[in-house]
Assembly symmetry: C2
Homo-oligomer: 147 residues x 2
């Protein structure tokens, strides 16, 4: 089998696995009233002191319309604070709240085992290989950005 034959199979599997994982992640996160995308946005805010929506959009490569709505939801759940930016009046700073931090910690507790189960059969060498390959594919996306 050459690359041209393998590519569609690999791409197909990536789409399939991505969808499955997201669905399962949504189930795992349901008790927290969040889905996977919403949590990933919360988490990316958690990782920084303060961020603007555009940072989140660029980092996670999501639609700005979508991020706008999720930010509103996270704020209404008191998981993040929103502070108007002085430098740029179109924009605001997003910061995680204590409640948000607690939620992230809880989810981390739950997801540790959850994450491991999907990679259970892979050995250390395969994991490293996989990580490297996925990173390369992600970089192709960044090169061929849509926006």
């Amino acid at each position: 089998m050459d690359k041209a034959e393998m590519a569609p199979i690999v791409i197909g599997k990536l789409m399939n696995i991505g969808g499955m994982l997201q669905k399962r992640a949504n189930l795992m996160l349901a008790p927290f009233q969040l889905n996977q995308q919403q949590y990933s946005i919360l988490f990316s805010i958690y990782q920084e002191d303060r961020v603007q929506q555009k940072n989140v959009i660029n980092k996670l490569m999501l639609e700005k319309a979508h991020v706008s709505k999720v930010v509103k939801k996270l704020h209404s759940m008191d998981l993040i604070d929103i502070e108007l930016s002085e430098q740029d009046k179109r924009s605001s700073w997003l910061m995680i709240t204590d409640k948000g931090k607690k939620l992230v910690h809880k989810v981390r507790g739950v997801s540790a085992d959850w994450n491991k189960q999907w990679t259970g059969e892979l050995d250390m060498n395969q994991m490293n290989q996989l990580l490297e390959s996925l990173t390369m594919i992600q970089n192709v996306f960044k090169e061929k950005a849509l926006h």
Copy 2:
């Protein structure tokens, strides 16, 4: 970095890449009035002489409600034929039409290059490794089936 640390990163990347690919695939398929999931259902019908919805559901691990709706759409677009099953009156046989076949061939033409571009940086060895790892992960899903 040990496995426990890598797992969430790998899983995160898989979800991210899956979403991106699906979005791009939807763009590529838009001229055919189909999205990626709909096409994958059409393609799985194309691959067999005749199938029942349950076959598609099991193979692609999709929701039966969803497949039901897509089958209706594909039929309304004259891409598939539906023939009542004699053996099981709850069920029908799905078969690709000539129009459906033509569409699949057209999409194959378009998607050959499309598929390759995402794996462009990977060499043959990496592709094989990746395929193997993805297959292992898919098998974990089959073990831990939801239904």
